[in-house]
């Protein structure tokens, strides 16, 4: 009876995409809870914070400081996923309890807090980090204390840690498909690369440049501005001077707002596609700040858009809105963050244990048919196979999906010939 109620609840909260197999498993987990509770020592041989009823995980994002803008969505998504998993009976019959820590947009704080989560709280997994810098700061700690981090952001690649599952795309997945598409569909010949001045835009532009040059096309300019820069008139003039077919923009944070507003004010109308603008850094989250009318007509290449038309995503968006209000928007990273707890749950259940080493061994090959983005699969290199989509920014702040790669893109964090 209770079980039926629970299942009914699930439908109410809108998780219709959950496969039958999973529901079955959940039911099994609930019914046989006592079996698992008897076996607490078996599923946890390394002293993690796992009791007969609960398993503790960590959430580590910035809720204060400059990065709180971006990381809020990820926290919400991770909490939602945990809530849904708990409603289905948890993981191996145990409810997930989370400890949330604030990285405060400060990399050493991230390191400190990750250490606290691993050493003090003995969490079974950590969902968190956003910027590359914060990930780099915590990485040695995860490797030293053998923790498991689910990292949601699309990033520059060049990394493959046994202690991290990268649920966002690495650079080549995002970049190659986007450039191929503008070349093929829009006949682009010349590119202007623009970015904020740090490692992700620089590495991404490096890959983009190599790819563009391999295709025999031309990069007419490459430019970087400090994080937080708000005056882009000079670079806009340079763009007007060099007349590229495509502006390839990887501007992040508050600079985005300034850049798109000034672009529009300078008379470069994006819907005219002269030049066309392709970005890999603006999700629906950022458009909230930029304003749909300022970025209307730009294209973005990433793996998820809120407007994706599939049953999984509809259920996800519905559940997300039910939880956080109707005005909420969901960006690529938010969705990737949502995958984290689910991937972890799947790996734990496949391994039949919370032990980090067993979870790691079980992770490659894990499939998620219920992912809002469609279907994902964990690669040997701990990144996800995923499709890349091209979205056209609309005035209402949403993207219209105009293209989707046929095949899943293979993650390749150390791309040969692009370094």
């Amino acid at each position: 009876m209770t079980m039926q109620l629970k299942l009914k609840n699930l439908h109410m909260t809108g998780i219709r995409g959950i496969s039958r197999r999973w529901l079955g498993k959940a039911a099994l987990a609930i019914c046989s809870g006592w079996i698992f509770s008897a076996a607490a020592a078996d599923v946890n041989t390394t002293g993690l914070a796992v009791t007969d009823k609960e398993v503790t995980v960590g959430i580590l994002h910035s809720v204060t400081g400059t990065m709180a803008i971006s990381e809020t969505g990820s926290v919400q998504a991770e909490k939602l996923a945990i809530k849904q998993i708990n409603a289905m009976g948890g993981v191996l019959g145990r409810q997930i309890k989370f400890i949330q820590e604030d990285g405060a947009s400060d990399w050493p704080t991230f390191a400190e807090k990750s250490k606290k989560l691993l050493v003090n709280d003995k969490v079974a997994a950590v969902f968190g980090c956003w910027t590359s810098a914060s990930r780099k700061a915590v990485l040695p700690i995860f490797e030293q204390y053998n923790g498991m981090l689910y990292y949601p952001t699309f990033y520059e690649g060049l990394e493959q840690s046994p202690n991290v599952i990268y649920t966002g795309q690495e650079a080549t997945q995002q970049i190659l498909a986007g450039i191929d598409w503008v070349v093929k569909e829009k006949g682009a010949k010349t590119f202007y690369l623009l970015g904020s001045d740090y490692i992700w835009p620089r590495t991404s532009n490096k890959i983009a440049r190599k790819h563009i040059e391999k295709l025999g096309l031309k990069v007419v300019g490459e430019e970087y501005y400090p994080l937080g820069h708000t005056q882009f008139n000079s670079v806009i003039n340079k763009i007007k001077l060099t007349k590229p077919d495509v502006i390839y923009a990887i501007v992040v944070g508050g600079s985005n707002v300034a850049f798109y507003k000034q672009l529009k004010a300078a008379g470069i109308s994006l819907p005219k596609e002269k030049p066309l603008l392709l970005t890999i850094s603006v999700t629906e989250d950022e458009i909230l700040g930029i304003g749909g009318e300022n970025i209307e007509g730009a294209y973005a290449a990433m793996k998820y858009f809120q407007s994706l038309d599939n049953p999984n995503n509809k259920a996800f968006v519905e559940a997300f809105k039910a939880e956080y209000g109707d005005n909420i928007v969901i960006g690529d990273v938010t969705q990737a963050a949502y995958l984290g707890p689910w991937l972890w749950k799947a790996a734990v259940e496949k391994a039949g244990s919370f032990d980090i080493d067993k979870v790691r061994a079980a992770s490659p090959g894990i499939e998620l048919t219920t992912a809002p983005e469609g279907y994902v699969k964990v690669h040997e290199n701990h990144h996800l196979w995923s499709k890349t989509r091209i979205g056209l920014a609309l005035k209402n702040g949403q993207y219209k999906v105009v293209h989707e790669t046929e095949e899943l893109m293979e993650p390749d964090p150390f791309p040969k010939g692009y370094q």
């Binding site: 820590e101 400060d106 990399w107 050493p108 400190e112 003090n120 810098a133 490692i199 620089r202 994080l227």
Partner: protein, 414 residues
């Protein structure tokens, strides 16, 4: 911004307690010896005994900021020079240490997947194919250790000479040091091929083959840190008790009078600023060793100002207070942000305002005016001008010198 009523107050203070009355006192009057001993027991015995290694490592990290705070007590509390760029020196010291450790971590064996093995990973990501010339010397530990002290000090010297010789001080100095912090941050982030950019220099493992990440290494590093801090406190105490310390206080009150007395004011300021920079640099290097990486987030304005608040909470005139203040603020930060991350900024903001308004001399001031009299057998004559905590009646941060130096001179006349 002249303040006649203020200066008349100062005049009377100077007349009552002319500087010349004091010769060189013993380095440690009785009180200070006790304070130092208490601090040594607290940090060296009590904390290591009661805390597990994770918490102790945190304390070790906080204590690296205490180096900066002690330096600030000398510069700001005594010299009246408020630097908002101490993070620059902390960062430079930390980067010098990190460069050495990174080179050691980047031996050709462990970096063989790179296109150019043997150079730090971030250089490889930025298509740099050989080690830049200024990295070369950092293969040598002695060079790195010397650089930790010398590079920031020279940098501080250049800034200080340029500023103090032209009698730039106070507010202008604060703003210019802030600008320098901002320039250096942009530069470090922008030149990521050489500096690691916004990520900083990460994944540092060993020091001459000794793994700095193990628990035993953390204990040892904690004690190294502790001993260095004690040495810095001794050095600071020496400066404080020497003629230089009293001249600094005099300059803070009335710079022109000191100058008229024939002293070269600027060279004292330059010295104390360089000393503060050197302290910060040691802190930075110890930070790198204990935390295992260095990033530009320490060089910027925000951490630099936070370090000032550590000093202000402890008491800008007390070198011991600065250590306690650093520990207290950071402990509060960690605790708050573990339970109420959103409240932390309110608490921090309130701390800034509260300290400035109500307790200009911080913890040390409260201690001096409220606790010390309880078990001090000294006559009341030294409590002539206690710093009252009421804002309206405390127009100036009345200097809370240890009772043995009754030179109460109002701070910051301009």
């Amino acid at each position: 911004m002249s303040m006649p009523n203020q200066s008349s107050m100062e005049n009377s203070a100077l007349v009552e307690n002319p500087l010349s009355q004091h010769g060189l006192k013993a380095l440690f009057p009785k009180h200070d010896i006790i304070y130092l001993a208490i601090l040594a027991v607290f940090l060296g015995i009590l904390l290591p005994m009661t805390l597990d290694i994770f918490r102790l490592n945190l304390v070790g990290k906080y204590l690296t900021y205490a180096f900066v705070a002690v330096g600030l007590v000398l510069c700001w509390g005594y010299g009246g020079i408020l630097s908002l760029g101490q993070g620059v020196f902390f960062g430079l010291g930390g980067y010098c240490m990190a460069m050495f450790l990174k080179l050691e971590a980047s031996d050709p064996e462990s970096t063989k997947i790179q296109s150019t093995p043997g150079i730090p990973d971030f250089m490889d990501w930025n298509q740099i194919t050989e080690l830049p010339w200024f990295w070369e010397p950092f293969y040598s530990l002695p060079f790195a250790l010397i650089a930790i002290l010398v590079v920031p000090t020279i940098f501080a010297y250049i800034i200080a000479v340029a500023m103090f010789k032209r009698r730039v001080g106070g507010v202008y100095f604060a703003i210019i040091t802030q600008a320098i912090a901002s320039i250096l941050t942009i530069l470090i982030i922008g030149q990521q091929g050489y500096t690691g950019g916004v990520n900083g220099i990460t994944d540092l493992r060993t020091l001459l083959g000794w793994d700095i990440r193990t628990d035993s290494a953390k204990y040892i590093l904690y004690y190294v840190n502790f001993i260095l801090l004690m040495l810095c406190l001794l050095a600071a105490q020496f400066v404080r008790k020497s003629k230089l310390g009293r001249l600094l206080v005099a300059m803070r009150g009335r710079e022109d009078r000191v100058r008229f007395s024939g002293y070269d004011v600027s060279s004292f300021k330059i010295f104390v600023f360089c000393l503060g920079a050197a302290f910060s640099a040691i802190g930075g290097a110890m930070f790198t060793l204990q935390v295992g990486f260095m990033s530009p987030s320490f060089v910027g304005i925000v951490p630099s100002i936070e370090m000032v608040i550590f000093c202000a909470v402890g008491g800008r005139l007390s070198i011991f207070g600065a250590v306690y203040g650093t520990l207290l603020v950071n402990w509060a930060k960690t605790t708050f942000s573990e339970s109420f991350p959103e409240l932390w900024l309110f608490a921090m903001g309130a701390l800034f305002i509260g300290v400035v308004m109500a307790f200009p001399n911080g913890l040390a001031g409260i201690y001096k005016s409220h606790i010390e009299p309880l078990f001090s057998r000294k006559p009341k004559m030294f409590e002539k001008k206690p710093s009252t905590p009421k804002p309206a009646s405390a127009p100036e941060p009345v200097s809370a010198e240890p009772p043995s130096i009754p030179g109460s001179i109002s701070a910051m006349g301009k």
